[in-house]
């Protein structure tokens, strides 16, 4: 049930119609049932896995909170981490690592074979696993308490708007106010109708659908045209424009999903955190990670980077921590060497900027800021090549073409025109709205006529400029 499908909107219309007529306690049970129905719609065989993970982490959370022994606490935390990562590893990484292991053995003359696990990757497993783990870590650190009952925790894990592709919500621990209202805390509190819930929800949903349907899917057609072609049929400029298109595809696709999730949740009186803040306006790698997939980057920062030592321990230790964090962040996206190298590349970028002291240099003028934005965008795009390429051979071919073949072709011109037509209005809008407010909600605080104009444009584009093919959200595969 994709957010950009009619089936989802029929489902949601039924859910919200019933939801607001129910008393608070029943709302929780009803939303939990709806969330499991939503998840089971993908494949009912995924349900036992999420149910098991939920049971385990709920009871481990209670046990961690009830013991005063640090050793026991640590044991329970390790149990949760081990089982969660085993589940993730089995479904997501087993075949990749076993293949690589066998290849390595074969290369040194040892003939070996390991069984292949033919299983579907449960959608959203990376997201809800990380969310459950953050809950366990926060209880162990003593910054939050366990859920008041199992049903609230089950809904916290499975709340359908963000179940498949985030944002990875925190429970609502102390010191996490910058990440918005914790989801578990909201679930445990009776909903209150806010006067702007409808307007803000509508805005998020419309913006998200526009990003996904108009930009993401149309960019996908361009990206596939370039990346599915033999390199001998491409020029370097076409490769570059294909990567630009992917930069907009993945941003529009993923931030579109997050936006729709925020809107749908908001209509149910629940706030989900902002997962993106105009990432292509970043002026440095750390600035980019403060704007891109914020729920994952803050998770990695809080539970991995800081656990490794963070900024403590001097230069080399910090660089080591950065590299480990980013490589694991890359692997989180999937079992492929391209993701490993993507993480490695971003770790190297962060380290380089830190070593050279460029992170702390504030832009002196608009021109200074502009060229740093353009430079950063192109550095990010280089990373997207690693992210999107089918394999490292394709990465090499694209890099070679971009270095040697600068022929401008009608295909490249048309693609640039299409990127400008679809993505430039969004970029201008997001620049404008973030310059007026701390987030993307600037428009909701504008006069109604401004909203009407923007919404009319978005709706007309949604009707007329749908892509020839509708695609799944990219992050569903993670």
């Amino acid at each position: 049930m994709l957010f950009n499908s009619w089936a989802f909107w029929v489902f949601f219309a039924v859910v919200i119609s019933v939801y607001w007529f129910l008393p608070f306690r029943l709302q929780t049970f009803f939303l939990l049932a709806a969330s499991y129905f939503f998840y089971g719609w993908w494949d009912w065989r995924f349900l036992p896995i999420i149910t098991f993970s939920t049971f385990m982490d709920f009871y481990l959370g209670v046990m961690i909170a009830s013991t005063s022994s640090e050793v026991s606490k640590r044991r329970y935390v390790w149990l949760s981490v081990t089982v969660n990562l085993l589940l993730l590893g089995l479904f997501k990484y087993y075949n990749f690592f076993s293949n690589e292991f066998v290849t390595a053995l074969n290369s040194i003359g040892i003939q070996a074979s390991l069984p292949v696990v033919q299983v579907l990757l449960p959608v959203g497993i990376s997201f809800y696993t990380f969310q459950s783990m953050s809950y366990i870590f926060d209880i162990a650190r003593g910054v939050t308490k366990p859920a008041t009952n199992f049903w609230n925790f089950a809904l916290y894990v499975s709340f359908f708007p963000h179940l498949i592709a985030g944002p990875i919500m925190r429970s609502g621990a102390k010191g996490q106010d910058a990440l918005g209202r914790g989801l578990l805390k909201q679930i445990e509190t009776p909903r209150v109708h806010r006067s702007d819930d409808f307007a803000v929800g509508l805005y998020y949903i419309l913006l998200g659908l526009f990003k996904k349907v108009v930009i993401g899917d149309n960019m996908a057609a361009l990206v596939n045209t370039i990346f599915n072609r033999d390199a001998s049929q491409l020029t370097g400029i076409e490769c570059l424009v294909g990567i630009y298109a992917f930069a907009w595809q993945i941003y529009a696709d993923f931030s579109g999903y997050s936006s729709i999730a925020q809107g749908v949740a908001r209509w149910m009186g629940i706030d989900l955190m902002d997962n993106f803040k105009v990432p292509y306006l970043a002026i440095s790698p750390s600035d980019f990670w403060r704007r891109w997939h914020i729920s994952l980057s803050t998770w990695l920062r809080d539970y991995l980077y800081i656990a490794l030592g963070g900024n403590r321990g001097g230069g080399n230790m910090v660089l080591r921590n950065l590299m480990i964090t980013m490589i694991l962040g890359g692997i989180w996206h999937g079992a492929n060497w391209t993701f490993v190298f993507w993480g490695l590349y971003h770790g190297a970028l962060l380290s380089l900027y830190r070593l050279m002291g460029w992170e702390n240099v504030r832009p002196r003028s608009i021109i200074d800021r502009s060229w740093r934005i353009v430079l950063m965008f192109h550095l990010i795009c280089l990373g997207w090549l690693l992210f999107r390429a089918e394999n490292m051979q394709q990465v090499g071919e694209f890099l070679y073409l971009m270095a040697t073949d600068w022929r401008v072709t009608p295909t490249a011109i048309a693609m640039l025109g299409l990127i400008a037509f679809y993505a430039l209005p969004l970029f201008i809008f997001e620049y404008w709205t973030t310059s007026h407010a701390n987030n993307l909600l600037g428009l909701t605080q504008s006069p109604w006529i401004a909203r009407a104009s923007v919404y009319a444009y978005a709706v007309l584009m949604l009707i007329v400029f749908q892509a020839p093919e509708s695609h799944e959200f990219i992050y569903f595969q993670f």
């Binding site: 006067s195 045209t225 295909t411 299409l418 009707i463």
Partner: protein, 337 residues
């Protein structure tokens, strides 16, 4: 928050304004729809085409298809091929909405041809690739708006438009001109982007090959074809399918031959008609004018030389007639198996 910013009341003003814009779009299209494309004009003319066939002399023939028919069939040349062997004149009508397949043709027949009681002798369908295969409806909004309409919605929903998404799109297409014409408006606007006209076929090929790769994962079936033949032949009309040449060769599965035979129809294989080079095609699908002339002549001769078609058109079985040599051995060799 002041009164002009978002609250429930001002949000209803916003929604009302958006609806007003959509209404203006609907009204504008009501008056300007025909200028969007030649295809829209052609679809608008279908009732008149059917009426012209009805008013014409027997035998009456309908070419029903898509742009393969538009680019490949020259009715004057087909008739000339018949006149060349002293066969009586016929009335030929052509219906060829762009980018359509068997499901669309079925509903064009059901909605426009069948109720007019045209007493057709023969329906000729020029096809290629997977045009006759069972498969999901390619364009539900066009089916709803232009081919089946609300009047045949129940039939479409029970046989062809099965998913919720497709049904919603069908109904939107049937009720909104903006929705029904969105692809055409899109093409007109995007054509303003430099290089788009050359780039669009490349994108289409990628999208099409993605779809074909998925479709070819399992062998094709022909239940829809059987249904179409049942409807048309029940009206006393014969059907000939013509395998039409396109740039890339394509297979004709045995199962297709069997389905056509079972349905009481005929297939003529002209995939291998005489080619002179790459100039025979305007693009990957459509014949260039000179090649279309040769193809039409070859088809005219093939219809004369085919027992089934000859009987359908002129009421007598073929006796000792041989097709006029068209310089192409492939026409003869490509006759029905």
């Amino acid at each position: 928050m002041n009164s002009s910013t978002s609250n429930s009341r001002s949000e209803w003003k916003v929604i009302a304004s958006v609806l007003a814009v959509l209404l203006i779009g609907e009204i504008s299209l009501y008056f300007t729809e025909n200028r969007l494309s030649y295809d829209v004009q052609h679809i608008g003319q279908i009732p008149a085409i059917v009426n012209d066939i009805k008013q014409g002399n027997s035998p009456r023939v309908l070419f029903l298809g898509n742009s393969l028919t538009r680019a490949g069939i020259r009715p004057d040349i087909v008739k000339r091929a018949w006149a060349g062997v002293n066969l009586p004149d016929a009335t030929i009508g052509l219906i060829y909405p762009d980018d359509t397949v068997l499901t669309d043709w079925l509903y064009v027949y059901r909605r426009f041809v069948q109720p007019a009681n045209t007493q057709l002798r023969l329906v000729i369908i020029c096809f290629a690739n997977d045009h006759l295969d069972d498969g999901p409806v390619r364009n539900s909004e066009r089916l709803g708006s232009q081919f089946a309409g609300l009047s045949l919605a129940a039939e479409a929903f029970s046989h062809d438009v099965l998913s919720l998404s497709d049904r919603v799109r069908y109904l939107l297409g049937a009720t909104s001109r903006l929705w029904a014409n969105r692809e055409r408006i899109q093409k007109r606007v995007l054509a303003l982007i430099p290089g788009y006209q050359e780039f669009a076929p490349i994108i289409n090929d990628v999208v099409r090959s993605d779809g074909q790769a998925a479709a070819h994962a399992k062998p094709p079936t022909y239940n829809q074809l059987a249904r179409f033949l049942n409807i048309v032949t029940s009206d006393g009309t014969k059907v000939v399918f013509v395998a039409t040449p396109v740039r890339q060769p394509y297979p004709l599965p045995d199962e297709l031959y069997k389905a056509i035979r079972r349905g009481g129809a005929e297939i003529i294989d002209l995939r291998g008609f005489e080619r002179t080079g790459p100039g025979d095609f305007l693009d990957s699908l459509h014949l260039a004018p000179a090649a279309a002339e040769r193809f039409s002549k070859a088809l005219g001769s093939a219809l004369v030389g085919n027992d089934y078609a000859h009987t359908a058109l002129w009421g007598t079985r073929l006796q000792g007639y041989r097709t006029e040599p068209s310089g192409s051995s492939t026409v003869g060799s490509g006759m029905a198996r």
